[in-house]
């Protein structure tokens, strides 16, 4: 089963600020789609709109052809890591995953399996409030993998990871894509995605600046780094 993430014509404003201004792109299965742009370009907002956390003023965001809020057991369709700190500091990591599993009709067995996969088993029974940012990111990945979803969406997953963690994350993302899953990964640092992204969406000021395969971008600009600098020139100013 494969599920494509399709975003089309999203508009969103916060008061006077335009956050999304016609955001349109598709993340296909079987490859890592890099979602790249300066801070404030609308990456996180787009992901929140896809998940139904924020309501767009216009446009559609579909996961496998359905709106996310309409999905039954949504974590089995799309796993997401939006904010690694979105947990109760007094609850253990394992219990955090447990309530989430219960919300999808899944059992504790699945929880232990994802904890094993992310290397969190040994610390999973400690209070999440004591976790380092790296451990929180791994817990967040565990949560995203909980429903064994065909599509994943990760916001800045490299944040707070040590070098070993970055290597682990890269190979994990590559493996997930190789299994035929859709993997959408946002980052404001091109270097993190250099070797793994098969497809890159450059965004700025709430809209897509350029979406293309890594190969065509490398051919045009020489490297993804150069493409990023060229495409996002003037877009990084804080608004």
């Amino acid at each position: 089963m494969t599920e494509t993430i399709e975003v089309s014509g999203l508009h969103k404003r916060f008061g006077a600020t335009v956050a999304l201004d016609g955001m349109t792109f598709t993340a296909p299965p079987g490859t890592v789609t890099g979602f790249v742009g300066p801070n404030g370009a609308g990456k996180s907002t787009t992901m929140r709109v896809i998940l139904g956390l924020d309501r767009a003023t216009g446009g559609t965001a579909l996961v496998g052809g359905h709106r996310y809020p309409d999905l039954d057991r949504p974590l089995t369709h799309l796993g997401a890591l939006i904010d690694a700190n979105a947990l109760h500091p007094g609850r253990s990591g394992r219990n955090h995953l447990l309530w989430m599993a219960h919300s999808q009709g899944l059992g504790a067995g699945r929880v232990d399996r994802v904890l094993e996969m992310t290397g969190m088993r040994t610390v999973a029974r400690r209070r999440a409030g004591g976790y380092s940012l790296g451990m929180r990111q791994r817990l967040g990945i565990s949560a995203a993998m909980l429903g064994d979803p065909p599509a994943l969406m990760l916001d800045e997953p490299f944040n707070g990871l040590d070098p070993e963690g970055i290597v682990w994350m890269r190979s994990l993302l590559r493996d997930l894509a190789a299994e035929g899953r859709t993997v959408l990964v946002s980052s404001h640092l091109m270097a993190e995605l250099q070797d793994i992204a098969g497809h890159v969406v450059f965004v700025g000021r709430g809209r897509v600046l350029r979406a293309a395969t890594k190969d065509s971008l490398t051919a045009e600009f020489g490297s993804l780094e150069a493409a990023y600098l060229e495409l996002t020139r003037g877009e990084g100013a804080l608004r």
């Binding site: 998940l51 309501r55 996310y68 974590l75 947990l87 109760h88 447990l98 219960h102 919300s103």
Partner: protein, 239 residues
Amino acid sequence: MRAALHAEWTKLITVPIYYPALIVLLTVGLSVTASVFGGEDPVQVSLLGVQLGQAVVAAWAVQLLAGEFGTGLALATFTALPRRLTVLAAKTALLLTGVLGAALLSVGASVLAGRALIGDYPALSSGPLLRAAGGAVLYLLAIALLGLGVAAVLRSPVAATGTILGLLYLAPVIIDFFHNPDWQRAIFRSMPSTAGLTVLSTVDLASLPVQPWPGLGVAATWAFVTFGIGAAVICARDV
């Protein structure tokens, strides 16, 4: 709904919960103390603890809902369960069940203590006593609902706690400062705590600005309207 209830239940029991114990402890504690002193209205004296218990009920409601926004956990919750009203319904059902249990225990213990400590206490089967005791339980349930509503609207746990406790405790104090009988009656009749707690009165009902059942109706109206607004806000706003 079943999965949401299961998830919220897991959430509830995987962090230490002091609130139900505190409801019973504070309610019975103050009730027993007041019963030792006695007073004009034995039933109302023996249920004075509701004055304290309501604060814990309100705080629990706020913690349950606004607490998630405070820690950012709401993000994970509404990603796992994107149907927001289902989440609210599950939380409400669990909270009301918990408050009902704690309230039955507190009110029952308070009445028994009152009967043991106060001389001319009415028979357990007397109508006014049953009305006051049943009314006390219903009142606490209304406060739980009111707390959820305020928490849903305000989201900041601290601000929500301050607001709901202000709503409950300021009215009876401020009434004393207004040397205007018309204003005093108007405030007494329209605020949830002053009007709602008349349900505890069993003597000299004629001198009350509002009768027990209509008074409880005022509190219930506050609860339902605020909860309704809160539910609408939960649905409409970005997480």
